[in-house]
Structures are given as C-alpha cells and as structure tokens.
C-alpha cells in the first residue's frame, strides 16, 4: 500500500490542514491516494479513533456492500468520532451512502447524518444495473465543493444503489432513469456518489476543492 507515502516531511502539527483517510477496510484505496498524490494533497491513514482528532478534514472511502461497510466502520470504533466532528468530511460512493439513515442493501442502519435513504434502482426503470460509466452532474450554484465545475460535467459512476434526491441535502444531481443525489451536503458533511479519483480532471478538481474547504 502507499500508506503515508506523501507525508515524507514534517509532522501533522506543521501541516495544519492535513487530510485523514478513514481506513476501515472497505475496499481498495490505491486509486484514491494516487489521485491525491497527483494533486499534491497530503494525507495519512486513520487506523484508530485515537488518531482521529489530529486531522483537519476527512475522507471516508468505500466500495462494495453498504451493510458490510457499516459493520466494518462500527468495528473500527470511529463512528462516534465521525458523527461528532465539525470538520469537513467527504464520503465517496459507499462512503457517502454511509452518511444516510438506511440502505436497502442489506437493510442496514447507517450513520444517519442526513435524513435520507439509500435505495436500489427499480427494476421497473429497465436500466442497466450497475449504473456504470460517465454521467452528467448538475450542481447547485455556488457550492464550494463544485467550484469551477461546469454544469453538465461528466463524472464516472459504478453503483447499484443511489441516494434519493432531496431538496434539503442534494447539492448535485444526476439523471439515470430517476433523478438522484450525485452529491449531498449537511453542514460539514459532504458526499459524492461518483468516483472523483476516476473522473478525469473534473474529479481531481473535486478533491482539490475539498482539500481547500
């Protein structure tokens, strides 16, 4: 793994905006850390609750099964820290879904940060599932996470579950048979359903924007 590879110099105290990646064992993060490296964004892995507070912002990655990911996150002991923080948090894909109340995937109770649900694409829509590939994202005006991202920019998706559109929390939407939350925000908590680490320059810009929140 590339753990800590970008942090060759200095301690956390000399890099006040250091990003911590919540390392709870849900999927591969090589591509994410590679994208952060390309953007020159310093990061470290957070392996235990004791390490949590020294970071200034957090990414919760995640691929695979939301219920299984929630179980792993609970086992990491970091749930109270995450729920209690007022620093910026970015959930990616399943990491975003964890911020909702509930997922139809495994009928799992999740963090409940935003009072929305994670649903399966209805078979009635006659869509290819997983939703795989590049789809357009339209953000609300003036959201800092989408700074300098044009409306209708394509981002890369691969998922079978989505977060319902919600006028309170949805900060960007995508249409795939149904309009869903491409990104959501509640206070300091942000989530993106697409994969910024695989979405070309636009995705890298999202990571950069988050690192500057």
């Amino acid at each position: 793994m590339v753990e800590n590879k970008s942090i060759d110099t200095g301690s956390a105290s000399t890099t006040p905006k250091l990003l911590g990646i919540v390392n709870y064992g849900a999927g591969n993060i090589f591509s994410l850390t590679a994208a952060l490296d390309r953007q020159g964004i310093a990061y470290e892995m957070i392996n235990s609750p004791e390490e949590f507070d020294k970071y200034e912002r957090y990414i919760i990655p995640g691929v695979g099964h939301a219920g299984a990911a929630m179980q792993k996150l609970a086992e990491s002991g970091m749930v109270p820290k995450i729920k209690g923080t007022s620093k910026p948090v970015l959930g990616i894909c399943v990491g975003m879904q964890l911020m909702t109340e509930f997922s139809e995937e495994g009928n799992a109770e999740l963090l409940g940060i935003a009072s929305v649900k994670t649903c399966h694409f209805s078979e009635n829509l006659k869509l290819k599932i997983p939703h795989t590939g590049w789809n357009k994202v339209n953000a609300v005006p003036d959201n800092e996470l989408f700074k300098d991202i044009k409306p209708g920019t394509y981002f890369y998706y691969v998922h079978s579950y989505f977060i319902e559109f919600n006028p309170t929390f949805t900060i960007a939407s995508t249409d795939y048979g149904i309009k869903f939350s491409a990104a959501l925000q509640k206070n300091n908590f942000y989530g993106v359903q697409f994969h910024p680490e695989k979405s070309g320059e636009a995705g890298e810009k999202i990571l950069k924007n988050f690192s500057e929140l």
Binding site: M1, R38, K126, N138
Partner: protein, 266 residues
C-alpha cells in the same frame, strides 16, 4: 437546485449515461504489443504512457489484456497496474490469467477498477459467484469470445481456437445470474475484419441482459461505431488496432458520435 435538465429531451436513450469508447491494449511482459504509431510518443511500448495518452484524448476507460505466458507474469502485471493507477485518472480493467480470488485481490489492491475473466470462468463458472461475493459485481467483467458454428453461436477459448459446447446466449445469461457486473463480447467472426461490429448478435444479447454490454470485434471506421450504438444500444464499444494505428482518433470519433445524437463525454 439547478433545473438544467434540458439534456433529457435530447437524449434518445433517456438516461444521460454516455456511451463509452474503450481502447484495448495487449500487454506482454509489461510492454504493449502490436505496433502503435502515435506521434509524440517517447516509448510506444510503454503501457503507462499509452494509457495516459488515451486518457488525454478522451478515452472513457481502458482495458489491458495480459498475454504473457510466464510464471513471472503476476509480479510484472501488478507493477504495471500500480503505475497505471498512479498516472491515469480514468477507470481501467485488467484481463488475462486471473484464475482465483487471490489473483483478483492483488490487482484490486493495486488500483484496478475491474478484472476481466474469460476461459477461467468457462472452466469454473463458480469463480464468477466467488469474485462477485468477494469484491462486488461491479468489479467482475466476464469476457466472452463467440463464433458462429452452423446455426449456433458458441463460446470459444484461446482467441477463438478452441470451441466449447456453451451456447453464447445462455452462457452470458448464466454469467449475469452468477454475478457478472458487465459483459465484454467479442465476435471472432468479425474480429480483425474491420467490417463492423456484429450488430445482430450484440442487439440480441443486449436485449436479454440487464447489465452493461461492451461490444468488441470488427471496428474499422467511425461509421461502425455509429452503427453499433444506433442499432444495438450497447453501453460501450472496444477496439484496439484502429486506435493504436491512429486510423480513428478518439476526439474526432466522439464528435461524430455526438453529431449522430449518440450521448458521449466530450
């Protein structure tokens, strides 16, 4: 909330999802094979540089097929996968020689977005279930090489040299049921002909499955890409030599596709 949903009315498929254009690179001992005659390439055999070039040109995704036959292959391939993941910001799939969970696991942890299995799945269909269970179905591409034999389409192995008794339609359905997240279908009858994709078969298969389908085999010109998307509604089209030799340039291809009302990422 932005109300700019104007593309809904323009998009005939009604989903907004772009059709993907996928260059395929054959890799042997960590180097691409088949000549590549791009201009401005320092090293035409370096898969990482090629991958980066394709990502800059607007390729939506890449497939690397490892055709190395030696025992050293896995180590070489893992290094390659890491180098691609470090340098390239679009998704990519690795195929070739993946026979068990451990093979897939190390590729996933090196940054591969998907793995593609072909003959290993035919020999051991349970592998599809096991991979989907371990990594999620979005990680599992089942590649199928098909060839017409009499009035049947049969799955073939070893680049079309070995016929199996599996009928292509039912095998693909089985692969979907077992947890494949995507199908990469290569028509051996069309592959290398540059006469166009096997649109009749692709449409038939596409209508039978509810996971994404990648068309492969037969691309010779831009019209072939227009035809496959108009006639079959497949999700992606893959080609190798027409891209490597610069016969089709991806930016121009995508402009043409858009002109023909096919949703693409520009």
């Amino acid at each position: 909330m932005s109300n700019s949903n104007t593309y809904d009315s323009k998009n005939h498929q009604g989903t907004g999802l772009a059709k993907r254009i996928i260059p395929c690179l054959d890799v042997k001992d960590g180097r691409t094979v088949k000549g590549v005659n791009f201009v401005d390439l320092r090293d035409a055999g370096d898969p990482v540089e090629l991958a980066w070039q394709y990502s800059q040109q607007g390729a939506d995704e890449l497939v690397f097929l490892d055709i190395t036959a030696t025992h050293e292959r896995r180590k070489t391939m893992v290094e390659l996968v890491k180098a691609v993941a470090r340098n390239v910001n679009i998704p990519f799939t690795i195929g070739g020689g993946i026979n068990e969970i451990a093979d897939a696991d190390i590729l996933l942890n090196s940054g591969a977005d998907k793995i593609s299995i072909n003959s290993a799945a035919v020999r051991n269909p349970q592998l599809i279930n096991d991979l989907a269970m371990a990594f999620g179905k979005q990680f599992v591409v089942v590649a199928v090489d098909t060839k017409a034999v009499g009035d049947k389409n049969l799955v073939h192995l070893n680049g079309g040299r070995i016929a199996t008794e599996f009928e292509t339609e039912s095998w693909i359905k089985e692969a979907e049921d077992r947890g494949a997240g995507e199908i990469l279908l290569t028509s051996m009858d069309h592959d290398g002909t540059k006469g166009g994709f096997d649109n009749r078969l692709l449409r038939k298969i596409n209508d039978q499955i509810s996971i994404p389908l990648i068309a492969s085999g037969g691309a010779g010109n831009v019209q072939h890409f227009i035809d496959v998307f108009h006639q079959t509604n497949v999700d992606a089209a893959l080609a190798a030599s027409v891209f490597h030799y610069g016969e089709i340039l991806i930016p121009a291809l995508k402009e043409d596709l858009r002109t023909h009302n096919i949703e693409v990422r520009l």
